[in-house]
């Protein structure tokens, strides 16, 4: 398995020196390659010129020898080149191409010189540079000089230059690395501080973090802009939190007012309408007794009594819905039973209650809050969950009461609710979470689409400042 190396995965304090190192090394290498090419071409040109000069000198010195067919003198002329560095062989050829004189050991040049013009360009042959030059006298070509030089100096020059380039590249790389580390510290350090600050803000939602501006220039401007952004976010965040707190308090007040209004309405129904209807029922009973024996009256009176009784029952039902019966006197469990019975009557959803608590009660306000939240959950289940069974379970411990409402309905995606997506009836749950949170409690949502849901409300017995909000 091969892993591709990518500089983008490296931290910036490593990536920047590496990129600078690569840039410097590549630049030096390319420049060296170009210079080497130029130098080698120049060196070869110089070598060719040198060979051509030697050939010209040999041609001049061997003119007479060639004209007078003095091979000894011709050989003597060549002998002078024996100690010339790099010269591997020199030969003089007559006008007919036959060998006239040569170095000893150049026997393989005995063959007549091919006619390839008086001045053929230098040719390369197995590490040798061969040049041919005419021997002329007053415009007449008397013969040719052929010189063979080793290209070893050329190679040696290239190798020595390559070694030099290698050392230079190494030195430049080391210098570039340390210089870049030194110089990039001025960029990387503020960037690292910015990164740390950004991480801290993301992790802790702490907008009070600021990056210290230690220098002037572009980075100082970036840091100043970053800090200004944090200032703005901090200010807006604080304003938002304060606004949310005010909204929660307002909501709480509205709920309290609503509860008070409901209670007043329920009291009025109970003390006024119900009492009146009860009196009418009593009066009708007495009136029926006086008309006993009068034909046709009994059925009518009985019908009237039935209507009054139904009205009394309806008034009581409304009273119960307005103020859960027994919540204040008999406690939360009793009120939940009433709500469960009511749900069963209206929806045919079977509600089971399990009280595993120690019997310790919440404060009156929290009882109402808890009851309303459970009532809201049950209403949600009846409207959206397509559930057949609901189980309400009470537990306490660690100074808090936990109520779990479990159903076998369609379920939902808890993340959608947590992300405040209030479409498709999500506002109910959002409202519950907000209200319980404001009271110092928590709401745990556990559900998988298609597999029902379990929502646990946890409220501490102890009141805190938030629940006392006006």
């Amino acid at each position: 398995m091969t892993r591709r190396f990518r500089t983008s995965t490296l931290p910036i304090h490593r990536r920047l020196p590496l990129l600078m190192l690569l840039a410097c090394s590549t630049t030096v290498l390319v420049a060296s390659a170009l210079y080497l090419t130029h130098d080698m071409l120049g060196f070869r040109r110089h070598m060719d010129n040198q060979l051509a000069s030697i050939a010209r000198i040999v041609a001049l010195n061997s003119t007479a020898a060639l004209m007078f067919q003095d091979r000894d003198t011709g050989a003597q002329v060549l002998t002078a080149l024996r100690d010339e560095k790099g010269i591997m062989g020199v030969a003089i050829y007559g006008a007919d191409g036959a060998l006239f004189a040569s170095f000893e050991g150049m026997d393989h040049w005995q063959a007549p010189l091919s006619d390839s013009g008086d001045r053929s360009p230098p040719e390369n042959l197995a590490g040798q540079r061969i040049i041919k030059h005419p021997i002329e006298m007053e415009g007449e070509t008397l013969g040719h000089v052929r010189i063979c030089a080793s290209t070893a100096p050329l190679r040696s020059h290239a190798y020595s230059y390559l070694h030099f380039v290698l050392v230079v590249v190494l030195a430049v790389s080391v210098i570039a690395f340390y210089l870049s580390r030194f110089m990039l510290g001025q960029i990387v350090t503020p960037l690292a501080a910015l990164t740390d600050a950004a991480k801290s803000v993301t992790r802790d939602n702490d907008y009070s973090v600021r990056v210290a501006a230690t220098q002037s220039g572009d980075m100082a401007e970036v840091i100043a802009a970053f800090n200004a952004m944090l200032d703005e976010i901090d200010t807006n965040s604080n304003a938002l939190v304060a606004h949310q707190d005010r909204l929660r308090a307002l909501s709480q007040n509205l709920q309290t007012a609503e509860e008070n209004e409901r209670r007043a309405l329920a009291a009025a129904l109970h003390d006024s309408v119900c009492q009146t209807l009860f009196g009418i029922q009593m009066e009708l009973s007495a009136f029926a007794a006086t008309l006993d024996g009068v034909p046709g009256t009994k059925a009518s009176i009985q019908s009237l009594r039935d209507h009054v009784t139904a009205s009394i029952t309806e008034a009581r039902s409304i009273t119960t819905r307005l103020t859960p019966s027994g919540l204040e006197e008999l406690g939360l469990m009793s009120a939940l039973k009433g709500a469960a019975t009511d749900l069963l009557e209206h929806t045919h959803i079977d509600v089971t209650l399990h009280d595993n608590s120690s019997g310790k009660e919440l404060s009156a306000k929290r009882r109402i809050l808890t009851f309303r939240c459970v009532q809201e959950l049950m209403r949600n289940i009846s409207k959206h969950a397509n559930a057949r069974n609901v189980m309400i379970e009470l537990n306490d411990g660690e100074g808090a009461l936990r109520i779990t409402v479990r159903d076998d309905g369609d379920g939902f995606d808890p993340e959608t609710v947590r992300s405040n997506n209030r479409t498709n009836g999500g506002f109910g749950l959002f409202s519950i979470i907000e209200r319980i949170s404001f009271a110092g409690g928590t709401v745990d949502l556990a559900s998988t689409p298609g597999e029902g849901a379990a929502i646990t409300l946890k409220l501490p017995f102890a009141e805190d400042g938030l629940s006392q909000a006006p």
């Binding site: 003119t63 007479a64 004209m67 007078f68 003095d70 003198t73 002329v77 006298m137 007053e138």
Partner: protein, 190 residues
Amino acid sequence: MWALQRIICAIACLGCLLWTVPTSVADTPVVPEYHLKTVFLYNLAKFVKWPQAAVKASPDVLRIGVMDGTHVRPAFPLIAKKRVRGRTLELRLITSARDADDCDVVFLNGDDLRLIQLILQRVRTRPILTVGEIPEFTDWGGIIRFRMEGEHTRIDVSLENAALAELPLKSQLLQLCRIVAHTKSGGEQE
């Protein structure tokens, strides 16, 4: 019988071999002596820095005089079409000392030593390149002498005589030559 045939074959092969070797040697081109010397005359003329006066006197023709044309004349066609600094070559026969006056190069070959001496005395201070073969040639005032060294023709040069004739020789020529000095006894000294 077979042994006899083998011996005959071996002798035949050996004969062929011996016949071939001299044939190969014989095939090697041997330039006749005077052909070579004639060409050398032309070459020598090229290595002389001719004075302006001599060139002006005969700007188109370079005259080569020979005492004995027996050997030189047949070889002259070899150089007849050549030129020395634009001057065509012309061959003249020298029968008297006066004949040498109009020549640029005189080749004093032949056996008439008295005539050789006369000519040399006559042209000694003139820009005429004198070439000879006899051993006393440079002592008598000649500039260049052909000397045979085995099969090779070598060149002796007297720089004193060349200077006297105001004929500077090119250094390339001097590389090949043996420079000789005069001796009082009439011999030569290297």
